[in-house]
Structure formats: C-alpha cells, structure tokens
Symmetry: C2
Subunit: 335 residues, 2 copies
C-alpha cells in the first residue's frame, strides 16, 4: 500500500519535495477516529514514547522517594537540546539517586541544539553524557534501578530489570506485545520495539485519559502530563516544536517527537491518542503533520490557530530573510 | 507516476524509513542510459549546478584576468562547510576583484559544518557572509561583474547581467529553456530554475566531455573539473560526501550535491551525465543513490569499491559506537 503525500514543500509556486506518511488516531476505547495510509506496518517509536517509558519511575513511587521535581520529571520524557538547564536537571536527578554522570550509558554527543553546542564550545568546554538529548530519560532509568536497590550498571540492556520493567509498561498501555524479533537498538543504546501505529495511538489515548489503567498508573500519567505542561522547555528546548506547541496549549495537547519521523500525542479533552510516521524519517514532515492534526482536532482561539498554522505550514525564508517557499499540509490532516 | 523506493534505512533487520526518487543518466549525444521514476517532473537543481554556473567566470577569461587559483575555482563550485580555508579563499577571490565581504549578497549563516561552527564560536567569533556555504560561488559572481566593469551591486537579482549570463550558460549547456514561470529563489538569494532531470544530466554529460560546446566552453569545463579534482576539499569540506568521493576518484567522477535531495555528476570516461532527486528532499538518500550509481557505472579497484560501498550503504552506529542499522540501496541503482 502506498502511503499518501501528507506534506509538500513548495519553492515559489512549485512543489519541490514531498513527504508521504501514515497516521492513526484512536480513542480510549480502542476505536479508530482517523486512519491514513498503511497503519499496520510496524514502526519503531524511538523517543516518541519516552513519557510512557517514564511511567514506572513515577508509578513505583520512586520519583517521590527521591523528591524529583516537576521539571525533572519533564526531563525524564525529553529529547532535549542540551541547554544548560537540561544538563543541570539531569545531574540533579542523578545526585538524588546518589549517582553521577559516570553512571549514564547513553553516550556523549554535542548538544542537539546548535546554539547550545556553540555556547558550550565558546566556554572552551566539551560535552558530557549529560548533554545527550536522552540524559533525562537515562537519569530516570538510573533512579528506577537505585530506587529498588538494583545495580544500575548495564541498565540499557534488554535483559536488565530496568528495561524489562519499561517493556512491560509499554506492553500494558499499548496492549501490543513487544517481541525480540522486532527489537532494535536506539540511538542511546536502549531497546526499541516496532509496533503498529494504532497500538501506539491507543497507548497515548490511555496515557491522556487514564482509561483502563490502574489507579497508580492513572496518577502517574496525570503527573507526567502536568509536569510537562508546566515545563515544556524541559522536554525539548529553545525554538523546538514540542516546547512551542505545549507552551501554547498546556495540558490540552501532549506531543512528543521521535527520531525518523515518528510523532505521538494525546488530546486528553477528546480522549484521543495520535501516532504518525513520515515514511522517509523526516522530522520536518512529522512536525507539520502533527501541527495539522492539532488544527484538525482542537478548538483553538484565533491567535492559537495562527500560531499552530505557522508550525503546520511555515513560510520558508532564506539567509537574507526573503520568503522563498512554504509548506502545504494535506487537506485530510488539516480540515 | 509513483517513484520507486531507492534507499531503505534499516534498524536491526527491519526497514525503518524509505526514500523514493528518480534518476536520469544521459550520454553526450543526449541518449538515455538509465531512467528511473518520473524524470519529466521539473526539479530545482539548487546548488547541484554550481559548476555550470561557474562556466562564464572561466570561459570569459575573467578567472585568468584576476589570477584565480585552482582552489579558488573549486570554491566557486562549492557548497562548503565554512571551514577557515573556505572563508579565506572566498576573501582572496573578492580581494582579487578589488572587493571585500561587504559586496557578498548571499546572507550570513554559521558554518554548515558543525565542527567548524563550534571552532568559530570557541574563538569568540561570529560568522560573516564568507562562511555562507555559497560564498565562493558569490565571490565568483562578483568577479564576473567586476571583470567587465559592471557594478556588482544587486548581482543576485534575476535582472542583473551576472544572472542573465549565468542563466544563458545553463540554458546553452542543458539545452533546456529556463522560464520565469519556473523560477524560484535559492537559499543564497539567486534565481534557480526548475527543469527536468534528463536536461540536467545532459548538461553534465557535456560538462564532462565538452561535446557540442564551444572551444572556450570546453576549456572552461575541463579547467573547472581539474580544479575540483585537485582540490576536492574546497568544494565541500571535512567528512563531506563530495570531498571524500572525489579524493578517492579524482577526475573520474565529478559529483555535486544540491539542497532538497538533488545530485548531479559526470563520469567523463563514459561520457555520461547524471541527475537525481530524492522525492522527500533528503540528502542522506541522494548521497546513497549517487554512491550506488558510482558502483553501478565505474570500474573500481577493490579498495575503491569498498570505500564507495561505505558511502552507498553505510553502517549506522549509535552514540556508543554500537552498530544499530544500515542503508540499503535498490538493486536497480547498484548493479
């Protein structure tokens, strides 16, 4: 099945590039609200499920045991830009578990945010694993291990208790088995399991509503959503899509990017979960698709609508600030 | 017409993302050697035609008048990474025409190369227009204007003599009219004209062989190809695809990336020109496609083949250096 064109990138009035994709929107009963393209194809959710991966940390009471703050819980769900506040919060989480940066097994890279990388270089510094965009999630994993007196060493491996716990939490909320055959290794070295978009969307419908979850898991999901809504900077960073959208809409839309063009979201007031993928792995396309769905589903005030429209169908300016093109989202998503 | 999948990106053994595209390979007589996908769709060549845009500078004798060196001629064809040698050569070209950075109308951005951007920041400096990846092309345009005592001011505009000269050179070598209706504005503010891939490929077949060109244009094409083959660093930069491929193959393959997934090339020994586009605008896909075509068409020694194979179907490693996936190029391109 050929997925349809969902985002076009225009230069002048000509279509220069085109992105195909698939979209699944599911309600908390598991019913299909919207389905576009081949949604049965299994997709690695990558970082789009970090909030679900953080559920055991909160549900277990370990987040409270260590006194994790809301901005730290938001960081546990983040693909952050490696700005100073992100690195500091990751260090604080580790310190609360009696650990430090040496425990992180995510690897080191320069801050994902170009300006943050240059700012670090301008100070004559090099990055540490705290700057890895996944450091908050990994600090959460280390808290999860230490909270039950488990040695965190090797916590990224599929056989470690941390990953077994996280895998079970993902299977529970998505209702989809996570098989060894469909296991890949993520950029930060933890396992990632390919499942269909509707299962991911169903998981996010439940994350957004609590439907069908234990009381403790409901509370954990609510706490995570509220923490991110209060600290949208911590989940991404300066000028990032997720931060801008959640600064605008607060708890009305929880959205999270994953690598290779995956996006997940929940719109709690509607009881919907969303999962989508750009076939080609493009983040620009996935962002435009997600913003289109926000326009499609949520009632927005005029100024909110204008701000989300600018995320869905941005004008493209060149290095001299001249308008040279724009994005166009497929009507199926937008209207 | 749906373009076929030409590059797949695997995580573990599962296909995570897929890129469609179209390819045209044309010989110097204009005959089709290879055609994949919808090649009649008009494509903005963007920076992939910089070498053709540099023809008037050399053909007119102005490059010699100003004593431009081979590395400067290579820079005139470059989408460079903004490393110190690139910025210095652009400044030198401008000085030879009695001008300086203030004349550049390409706009300013941080070096395209992340390491170069951080190195600049580490020195406490900000970028100038010399760091714009197009600064060499623009310095060449300014030389072209000054060489005939034309005021370079406004040289980026379609109505300026520089752009009229460049447009005529592109129309001549590609045999394809460049219409106002299919004019877009490029990232560096000059016009870019959408034409079909076979016309682009034909232009590069002639650029590689001189067939059907005036003696002066033949000489200019040869000089540009040799200059780039001698200075492949100047046309791109550290760890860049074009630099690596031409360091390996010298004059046997002239290749040049453009924005939004466009690539052009010529293999002079075969008399072929190549033009391709990844539908979604992805550079990673366009690079893999081009490397696949090099493997397809050129006879290579074992070590050369292994090096090009690593560009076509690279292994993907994560931040810990663990192998997590790989690229797979469609057999149509590769074999």
């Amino acid at each position: 099945m050929d997925n349809p064109f969902l985002v076009e990138v225009l230069r002048g009035e000509l279509v220069e590039s085109r992105h195909r994709g698939s979209v699944s929107v599911i309600d908390a009963d598991g019913a299909t609200v919207l389905s576009i393209g081949d949604v049965e194809r299994h997709v690695f959710p990558r970082s789009a499920v970090k909030a679900l991966q953080a559920l055991p940390l909160v549900e277990s009471g370990i987040a409270d045991k260590y006194g994790l703050t809301d901005d730290e819980i938001a960081l546990a769900c983040a693909s952050h830009s490696g700005e100073p506040a992100h690195a500091a919060a990751a260090a604080s989480m580790l310190a609360k578990a009696g650990r430090d940066v040496a425990c992180l097994e995510c690897g080191t890279h320069w801050p994902m945010g170009d300006a943050a990388a240059r700012a670090l270089a301008a100070k004559g510094k090099s990055p540490s694993a705290l700057h890895n965009n996944c450091s908050g999630k990994h600090a959460g994993f280390i808290c999860l291990a230490c909270g039950v007196n488990e040695d965190p060493a090797g916590y990224v491996k599929a056989g470690h208790k941390v990953q077994q716990t996280v895998r079970a939490a993902l299977e529970d909320i998505t209702g989809s088995s996570h098989t060894d055959e469909e296991q890949g290794i993520d950029g930060c070295s933890i396992p990632t399991y390919a499942i269909p978009l509707p299962a991911l969307a169903f998981g996010f419908a439940r994350f957004g509503t609590g439907a069908g979850l234990s009381r403790a898991c409901q509370e954990a999901a609510r706490r995570i959503r509220q923490a991110v809504a209060k600290h949208p900077f911590m989940v991404a960073g300066t000028d990032r899509f997720d931060t801008k959208l959640m600064e605008l809409l607060g708890e009305r839309a929880f959205v999270k990017v994953g690598a290779e063009g995956v996006y997940c979201a929940t719109f709690p007031e509607l009881g919907y979960g969303v999962a989508l993928k750009a076939d080609d792995g493009s983040t620009r396309a996935a962002e435009a698709m997600m913003a289109g769905l926000v326009l499609h589903f949520l009632s927005l005030r005029d100024e909110e609508r204008a701000a989300v429209e600018a995320l869905a169908q941005p004008v493209i300016k060149n290095w001299n600030g001249i308008e040279v093109g724009r994005y166009r989202v497929a009507p199926d998503l937008l209207q």
